[in-house]
Every structure is written in structure tokens, then in C-alpha cells.
Amino acid sequence: MAKLVFMGRLEDVAGAPEMAVKPGPVEQVLAALEPALAVELLGEKIRMALNGRLLTDVGGIVLAQGDELAFLPPVSGG
């Protein structure tokens, strides 16, 4: 399995901090989610990181076994 991670307010939208998903193209993984959640995850201000590295573009990304894809809303630290 692969893993989706939801940070900040996205955790509330998803109802959990993370979710196990079947490996495969990210588009396909997102299409299998609740539409309301998928819309939030694809929001303009949400950044994505694959295994801890920021992605500039999610197009063409395929999640492999053990991959972790994190959805990162705007930060508000300190």
C-alpha cells in the first residue's frame, strides 16, 4: 500500500491524519476519494510532497508501494 498524509486543517476534512491507498497514478488515487476531500486536496494553496520532497507538479506521478504523499496547507508556525 501507499500512504496519503493530511496536514493541518486537511486532517479535519479527511477525518484522519493519514489514509492507506492502493499504489497507482496520483490522478487515479484522488479520483477514488470522497469528491469533497479531493477538491480540497487539489486546492490552489495546497502543496504536495512525495516522501518528504516537494513536488512542483503532481501530473504524471505514480505512487509505488510504500510511498508517502503529503498534502500541505499554508504553514503557520512559530
Binding site: 496536514m7 493541518g8 510532497a49 518528504g52 508517502e68 503529503a70 503557520s76 512559530g78
Partner: protein, 148 residues
Amino acid sequence: MADVRLSLDAFDPAVEIAGFNARHPNAGGIVTFLGQVRDSGGVEALELQHYEPMTLPGMQELARVTERRWPLEGLLILHRSGVMLPGDAIVLVCAAARHRRDAFAAADFAMDHLKSESWFWKREKTAAGWRWIEPRPEDHEDISRWRI
């Protein structure tokens, strides 16, 4: 050289500052910034969430950038994650330098970047429950001062 830590438990800033100063007894100037949970606005608790694979590495990179930009004799960046109460320390930055202005600028720079570019998500608990905090426009104005 920099001491960069992400703390999941409460830390005592006075102990950390004393330790830092003791490690840099001959630096001309030491600037420290301590950020604490404010006791105001009915905030009962504050939670900072971090993302393990990115938060500490991002802080370490910030320390490297800060050390490249100013000639420092020492730098400490220590940030809490987890649930905090009013009065709890959130973040401590200490910068030691031969010259005063370098220490001030480095601590100020590190704080601006911790506030607006480090991987933390914040929520506050009031009587109305928990609420996620969006970044403030000032945070981005603060950081834009450093673009050269």
C-alpha cells in the same frame, strides 16, 4: 555548527539560553528570541503540528542559510511541536557573533523564516473549540524584507 532541535516536549528557555551563553563566553554579542504562547484572546491551548520528513530538515536548512549569510560564532534554533499552554515556550533562537549587528540580523532573519516558511501548522483552542490558524499577511511582509 548550529544546534537545531525539534522538541516534542516542553523545554525551559532559561536553561537553554544559559547553556548557549556558556558555550559562547567570548562572543561579542548574543541575541536571543523567545516566542511564548500568549495569555490573551481566550486562547486555552495551542497546538503545533509538524511533518516528520520535512520539518526538522527544513529547520536545518534554514540554519545553514543563516550561517552562510552572517559570520556567526554560534546558532541555536529550537522549536516546539505538540500541545502548549499559555506561557509555554514555542520557539527559541540564539545567535552569537563577534559583532552586534550580525547577531541581531541573524536572529531576526531566522525568526521571520521560521514563522512563514517552516513546516508547522497551528491551531488554537478557545471556549468555541479548536480552530486552525491561517498565515497572516504580515508574516509574508516580514520575510520579504530579506530578499536581495
